[in-house]
């Protein structure tokens, strides 16, 4: 294929990415948008295969088949609750792939004893650095969300200094490599090693509750790494697509930070940090009111307006379908049901919407925080299912709380509240919730799925 034609087809692929992303912005066109962008990717791959002089086709075919197979298998089998981890992991693979591309280009020059042009040298170093950080950072984010490692911030004295020193060392070594005519192997390996360690150091001090922000940011990094590798091999479709992803990640990160009322700096450089210990109110001396499924069912059956606050606990229990069944019963009795969706409900922005969509809850019933908050005083019952921090009034009125200032759902303004919870354990952020101790709040303990099934049975019997 002539180079000019390949360039034009790459341009078509880039255009498909742009239109695909645009279409992803509306529920009616999103699925086609994703397919369009997938078509762009297929086009880019085919053009690349046709353009280059393939020397070892067998290996490439093996790579393509193995990678596609593993990716498809993972996409089919991952539960919807595991989506944030899945995105984190895929993101990490993309970062590592970019690192490999940069490394291979460097080694190629070194093997042939050629001088690396300055601009190529710079972009190779940046690819190694960003790709490495993306990879290990994503793996740590995955481990925290998968609960392979603790979700709590992991810090040790001097971690920030070490991180900064590592970053400076990597940049310094990279610069040294760029200005040195011959490629030296030792600094090259050191840069990669530092990048990998930096990814770990940057993410371990961040608490599990902040992982959505981290994933959004790492998503941006993987785009930047791809764009940098585009500079390395001189390919424009890589630059365009990488830049699109890079900016989308930054925008999503900003949206998330806004939702949590924190600055990005604050998230990355430790607010939850070691400060959690000692702050926040203790629950000692306070008692909660328990309620059984029968009473709760009666309360719900005669409510005119019910707001459901779904949280991650609902997703873990796979109880989306039971919630919907319950909502159907309430509606059949003439009540109105809405779902209050906190921007960080679940573990990623929009995660809860996906989970409820899986249970066929129409998306017009999912109401965003700003729109639902004025409606809480009108609600007869608020049903909190497996949510905790996002309904904690401490965020409004306790300056000592680590989540102070985070926008919350005003569940405590409702006429009455039923909280479905496994136990009195604290939430993901590890903070006591005073909502549970209010006189108008009743606790319905147990597994969310079992409790909801019981509620459904009781309500049918009424």
């Amino acid at each position: 294929m002539p180079a000019g034609l390949a360039e034009l087809l790459y341009l078509v692929a880039s255009a498909l990415f742009v239109v695909g992303l645009k279409w992803l912005g509306s529920p009616d066109t999103a699925r086609n948008g994703n397919r369009l962008s997938g078509a762009g990717m297929l086009l880019a791959v085919v053009v690349t295969l046709l353009t280059m002089e393939i020397v070892t086709p067998l290996w490439i075919v093996v790579g393509l088949v193995v990678g596609s197979g593993l990716g498809y298998w993972a996409a089919r089998t991952v539960p919807m609750t595991g989506m944030p981890q899945m995105v984190a992991l895929l993101n990490g693979f993309g970062g590592l792939a970019s690192l490999f591309v940069g490394a291979a280009e460097f080694l190629r020059y070194e093997l042939r004893g050629e001088t690396i042009p300055t601009e190529t040298g710079i972009t190779i170093q940046l690819t190694l650095l960003v790709g490495g950080i993306t990879f290990t950072g994503s793996v740590i984010a995955w481990a925290k969300l998968q609960e392979v490692m603790t979700g709590r911030p992991v810090v040790f004295p001097g971690i920030r200094l070490l991180t900064l020193a590592g970053l400076l060392a990597a940049l310094g070594l990279g610069a040294y490599q760029v200005v040195t005519p011959e490629a030296f192997l030792a600094p090259f390996y050191v840069v990669i090693a530092i990048a990998l360690v930096l990814g770990v150091l940057l993410v371990i001090p961040i608490g599990g509750a902040d992982m959505p922000v981290v994933i959004a940011l790492l998503n941006s990094y993987s785009g930047i790494a791809a764009a940098m590798s585009g500079f390395v091999i001189g390919n424009q479709v890589l630059i365009v697509a990488g830049a699109l992803v890079g900016s989308s990640g930054v925008i999503l990160t900003r949206i998330m930070c806004k939702a949590m009322n924190r600055s990005l700096w604050n998230v990355v450089f430790g607010a939850f940090g070691g400060a959690v210990a000692g702050s926040g109110k203790s629950a000692e001396g306070l008692t909660v009111r328990q309620v059984g499924a029968e009473d709760a069912a009666v309360q719900l059956a005669y409510a005119r307006f019910v707001i459901v606050v779904p949280g991650y606990g609902l997703a873990v229990a796979q109880a989306q379908h039971q919630v919907r069944e319950l909502a159907d019963l309430i509606e059949k009795r003439g009540g109105e049901v809405k779902y209050a969706i906190h921007p960080v409900a679940g573990r990623m922005p929009g995660h809860m919407n996906v989970l409820l969509a899986e249970a066929n809850v129409p998306y017009e019933k999912l109401v965003e925080m700003a729109d639902i908050n004025p409606e809480f005083p009108r609600a007869d019952v608020v049903l909190v299912v497996g949510a905790n921090d996002v309904v904690n009034p401490a965020a409004r009125n306790d300056p000592g709380s680590p989540i102070y200032g985070m926008p919350i759902l005003d569940a405590d303004h409702a006429q009455s509240v039923i909280v479905m919870k496994r136990s009195m354990n604290t939430g993901f952020a590890g903070i006591e919730n005073e909502l549970f101790y209010l006189p108008k709040t009743a606790m319905l303990f147990g597994d969310a799925k079992a409790s909801l099934s019981k509620l459904v049975t009781e309500m049918k019997a009424l």
């Binding site: 790579g63 424009q236 679940g346």
Partner: protein, 96 residues
């Protein structure tokens, strides 16, 4: 890459601004599919991986090239498939 570096920077910068404009208007409902969908696009590094794998640089091509192809393909196929799986569940109120 020779000479095209400025061109590359121009393209990179314009695409960055374009990305901001495209994504600012997405409703929160779609943020998770968007994140995973754009993550799939970052798998475009597959193009670089193929160039390296097909470059015929001996063991470098086999180890790094094929390694990168596998990783990038997982990102691409996994990303698009999982996004499609999420999006197929979004639907309006059923007609009763």
């Amino acid at each position: 890459m020779t000479g095209g570096i400025i061109e590359g920077i121009v393209i990179f910068t314009l695409a960055t601004f374009l990305g901001v404009e495209l994504i600012n208007r997405v409703p929160p409902t779609l943020h998770t599919p968007l994140m995973s969908g754009s993550n799939a696009i970052s798998g475009i590094t597959i193009v670089g991986a193929l160039v390296v794998a097909g470059g015929g640089f001996g063991w470098i091509s086999v180890v790094f090239g094929v390694g990168a192809v596998i990783l990038a393909m997982m990102n691409v196929v996994g990303g698009y498939a999982v996004t499609d799986r999420m999006l197929q569940m979004f639907r309006r109120t059923e007609k009763r």
